[in-house]
């Protein structure tokens, strides 16, 4: 089948569409973006079928053979991420088209959106350290532009902060890549990994690369920029940033750890990264509990939930990888749903503060329901994808005898329940002073359904996990999973 040959199209089509979108009026450009995403969604099953058939797919660009070639590579986790990207971006762009606000009517919005998509696809499919750099840069610049599109002072300041720190991260990554290249003569993940001899400079290079990624992935304590940016961005953008963009950087953390790490002290780095993840869970959750704006709660929740994706590095077993994969998907769906629902509620009430959102259940019941469903998955309550992910992670931690991880996972759930039920209670509270006029706008049905569909996806994942994990289990890295 042509699925392998079509792999480059996942990068090229969004880029070309971005160029085209720049020439179209905003509304048309949005429809173009939607069409591109629907096409990705429709062709994903073909890719999955080819993958299930033949295992990891590799394609060399420009017809050259390794080591000269630049390779694209698709493994199980990459495949699942492509599916997640297609699903979330489709729902989010429907939301943005239905409630464009000022942001999605700007001429730069949809081109940036499509560049973001191309960047995501590039990062997922890259097997080449420099390609990853290019992908990360596309992603970052597009993401910053989308945050800034909200146009408020808060959004512009947050975008600026995001840009500066992300560039810092990129340059750290690039410096590390240069060292790896100088040492091995290769940029290909597999070839460089095989040629790496353990040594001090390798550790320095990997440390630089990881530090750059951690900054981009907003891993504690480098998370400061995220709640500002994700909180201030338009709703659909927040959804995509929280669900997808930070995950792309984390995917590279795993790739580096698994392919290059063995020569550069991954044994030492793994537990350290996991410890950072643990700190992120605790700190992010406690911070989320203290926020008084709805979107800030959700943004800090992202800081916390990202921590779970690093825990696996301290207990690398098949079960733990499965749990991590599932968490990646469940969190992606649930968090995107939550941001879309939050945007709806804020729009309806005309006020971003929690205290002003009392009585939302009567004003926008579908959005409250979507928010609650997403919350169920985030806390890890059954039946949901988040629950099965937590279950698998707990199993992995228990089997590895990592008691601190067991305690951490349980505490993390309780903290998540604390901040989410606090938020829900605020939404359900009866409104004081019934005569108070609402300044907000009506929420179109599509915007509510987009949130609900994603939230239901997170729940359904709890019943459809087995086939998905089968796909992910088809191995990749030299050490087993991703």
């Amino acid at each position: 089948m042509a699925a392998t040959e079509l792999l480059p199209l996942w990068v090229l089509v969004p880029l070309l569409a971005a160029a085209l979108a720049a020439c179209l009026p905003a509304r048309r450009a949005g429809q173009l973006a939607l069409a591109v995403q629907l096409a990705a969604l429709a062709s994903w099953p073909l890719l999955a079928a080819a993958f299930a058939d033949r295992g990891p797919l590799t394609v060399s660009l420009a017809g050259l053979a390794p080591p000269l070639a630049i390779r694209l590579y698709l493994d199980g986790i990459g495949l699942l991420l492509l599916g997640l990207v297609a699903t979330v971006t489709t729902a989010a762009s429907l939301h943005a088209l239905a409630t464009p606000g000022r942001a999605a009517l700007r001429p730069a919005f949809w081109p940036a959106w499509l560049v973001l998509l191309a960047g995501l696809h590039t990062v997922v499919l890259s097997f080449d350290l420099f390609n990853m750099y290019v992908g990360l840069e596309l992603l970052t610049l597009a993401a910053v532009a989308l945050v800034a599109s909200a146009g408020t002072v808060a959004a512009l300041a947050a975008a600026m902060r995001y840009l500066l720190l992300a560039m810092l991260g990129s340059l750290a990554w690039l410096a590390g890549v240069a060292m790896i290249h100088a040492g091995t003569g290769s940029l290909d993940l597999e070839l460089a990994g095989a040629a790496l001899a353990p040594g001090g400079w390798v550790s320095v290079a990997l440390a630089l690369m990881l530090a750059g990624l951690l900054l981009k992935a907003a891993v504690f304590p480098l998370h400061g920029w995220l709640p500002l940016a994700h909180g201030a961005a338009p709703g659909a953008v927040s959804a995509v940033l929280s669900a997808l963009v930070v995950k792309a950087a984390l995917l590279l953390v795993w790739r580096v750890q698994l392919w290059l790490g063995p020569a550069g002290g991954a044994d030492a780095a793994g537990p350290l990264l996991a410890a950072l993840g643990g700190a992120a869970i605790l700190w992010g959750s406690l911070s989320a509990y203290r926020q008084d704006r709805l979107k800030q709660v959700v943004a800090f929740s992202t800081v916390a939930q990202l921590g779970y994706l690093l825990l696996v590095l301290a207990m690398p077993s098949a079960v733990a990888w499965q749990g991590t994969t599932l968490h990646l998907l469940a969190h992606g769906l649930a968090k995107a749903a939550m941001f879309l629902a939050a945007a709806n509620l804020v729009r309806r009430a005309g006020d971003p503060r929690l205290a002003a959102l009392a009585g939302s259940d009567a004003a926008a019941p579908v959005s409250v329901f979507a928010f609650a469903l997403a919350g169920v998955s985030l806390v890890g309550l059954p039946p949901s994808g988040g629950f099965l992910a937590k279950w698998l992670l707990l199993q992995g931690a228990w089997q590895a005898g990592a008691w601190w991880l067991v305690a951490l996972l349980l505490a993390g759930s309780l903290l998540a329940a604390a901040y989410l039920f606090r938020t829900l209670a605020a939404l359900l509270a009866h409104r004081d002073g019934a005569g108070q006029a609402r300044a907000g706008l009506p929420v179109p049905r599509i915007a509510e359904l987009a949130a609900l569909a994603l939230a239901l996806g997170a729940i359904v994942l709890g019943f459809a996990a087995a086939p998905i994990l089968d796909l992910a289990a088809l191995p990749a890295g030299p050490g087993g999973a991703p």
Binding site: P382, A429, H430
Partner: protein
């Protein structure tokens, strides 16, 4: 394992579909909502009747769906399941009727009845769960579905009650989950099976057996309001009366108690629990809860609070029955699952009627209500006497089997606990009855209302029906299809009959 394996699933889906339909029907379509609720409750009752016949004839039903490798969602119907499902199905119908009357003019009814049905779906899942994992899934769903009901009024007090409820239950579920993960890490998934077999699979590792038992028991003990995890129950009294009734009689508290029963009989096996030396501890804990709950009930001036503490005390009879070796005590514990449900729901129905019609919430506001609300007061009196354990009422049957079982097991101290508890029950119920019947009514009631005739009937009839059922459960305990008869059937199967 014959035919119709999906019947247990149908039992759960029926309530789930009702919940969805009620949510979708929206706030305004009251007639549609009422029809949906009643039709589903009746259909459920019919389904249960069908199952009762089949299971009495020795059939069991099982439905299985793999979630992950080695992790199945299992629903099954056996005789123990039906004890709980029948109770839930009957009380669901009556509570629905009551709630329709009670909430006649209050806002947010779509939300209320939606979550109400979801609650029943979760309860059905708990009853039909075929392994601990499935049990846990529905146990958590129950927590989620109940919270919106507890905070339904949306006041500060109700959110405080809801917060306490969540703190307790989620803490408990963390322990439950830890125990479950431990169990799965050691032996994988274990289906519930009469007599239990965990001890055989895990023989030699007694420390793990004890540790897992304690974690799981803590998880269930929270909902069953075992000391010292009972704190949420009295605070959850801020919920509307039908919710309190459901919480106390069928859903939450019973889910915990039912879990303890499953844990003792179908995971470990009663003999294994005794052999591990865990029975004494559980019995002591249950006895302490019984006495403490009664003592606290004595001190409450608010009628619903007194009833709540009484629940803390009474539900522990079930745990006590599970903790004592031998079939007699088991019968006493299991039958109390039903008896307490029938009696306590009546008491809450009546408390709701007093509060709704007269505004009388405190006990000292009940002077002479027997003269203005004779039928309600009659129902209240009959079941209060049953709670105390006056023969031949239902409560007496439970206590009789518990006492004789304890003596047979050589644990005579339990009889002392039962006598003390009975005296305390009398001490906190008889003065209330005295006020109801023998004090003159006041010149004016605190906050009298005049709901419509239909609403009144919708509230009064369920109370009378459950009171009558509680009375008959005691009087006709000898019949085969009485709760006692059914429990004897379960016990015969459980103890290798």
């Amino acid at each position: 394992m014959t035919g119709w394996p999906a019947l247990p699933l149908l039992l759960v889906l029926l309530s789930l579909a009702t919940a969805l339909a009620v949510f979708l029907a929206g706030e305004a379509r009251q007639r549609l909502r009422t029809t949906l609720n009643l039709a589903a409750a009746l259909a459920k009752l019919g389904l249960v009747a069908l199952l009762l016949r089949a299971v009495a004839a020795g059939e069991t039903f099982q439905w299985r769906m793999p979630l992950l490798p080695g992790l199945d969602l299992v629903l099954k119907v056996d005789s123990l399941t039906l004890l709980f499902t029948t109770l839930s199905a009957v009380l669901w119908l009556l509570t629905t009727i009551y709630a329709i009357g009670y909430l006649e003019r209050s806002p947010g009814r779509a939300r209320f009845f939606g979550f109400f049905s979801l609650c029943v779906a979760a309860t059905m899942g708990i009853a039909t769960a075929g392994n601990l994992f499935t049990f846990f899934v529905f146990y958590e769903l129950l927590t989620l579905a109940t919270w919106p009901l507890v905070v339904h009024r949306g006041t500060q007090a109700s959110f405080a009650g809801g917060r306490s409820y969540l703190c307790h239950t989620l803490f408990g579920s963390s322990l439950f989950l830890a125990g479950l993960v431990w169990l799965h890490a050691l032996v994988g998934s274990q289906d519930f099976i009469a007599g239990g077999e965990l001890g055989d699979v895990l023989s030699g590792n007694e420390a793990a057996q004890r540790g897992i038992f304690v974690l799981l028991l803590a998880g269930m003990g929270v909902k069953a309001a075992l000391l010292p995890l009972h704190g949420w129950l009295p605070k959850a009294m801020v919920a509307p009366a039908p919710v309190s009734a459901l919480l106390h009689a069928v859903a939450v508290v019973k889910a915990g108690a039912f879990g303890i029963v499953r844990l003792v009989y179908d995971v470990y096996g009663s003999e294994r629990v005794q052999a591990l030396g865990l029975g004494h501890w559980l019995a002591a804990l249950a006895a302490a809860t019984i006495l403490y709950g009664s003592l606290m009930a004595l001190r409450q001036a608010d009628l619903k609070k007194r009833l709540a503490w009484s629940t803390v005390s009474q539900v522990s009879y079930i745990a006590l029955g599970a903790a004592i070796a031998g079939p007699l005590a088991t019968i006493g514990g299991l039958v109390h699952l039903v008896h307490q449900g029938l009696m306590k729901i009546t008491l809450f129905f009546c408390a709701g009627l007093y509060a709704e019609l007269l505004g009388s919430k405190r006990i000292d506001q009940l002077d002479g209500v027997g003269r203005v609300m004779p039928w309600t007061s009659l129902a209240f009196t009959v079941t209060a006497l049953g709670m105390i354990g006056v023969p031949p009422m239902a409560g007496f049957v439970s206590k009789w089997y518990l006492g004789t079982g304890a003596v047979a097991a050589g644990q005579s101290w339990v009889v002392g606990v039962l006598v003390a508890s009975t005296l305390l029950n009398a001490a906190y119920f008889l003065p209330v009855l005295g006020r109801i019947w023998f004090r003159p009514p006041p010149d004016a009631w605190p906050a009298p209302t005049r709901p419509g005739r239909w609403a009144r009937a919708a509230m009064l009839l369920p109370a009378l029906a459950t009171a009558l059922a509680a009375l008959l459960a005691g009087l006709l305990a000898g019949l085969e299809l009485s709760p006692l008869g059914w429990v004897k059937l379960i016990v015969a199967r459980e103890y290798g009959g």
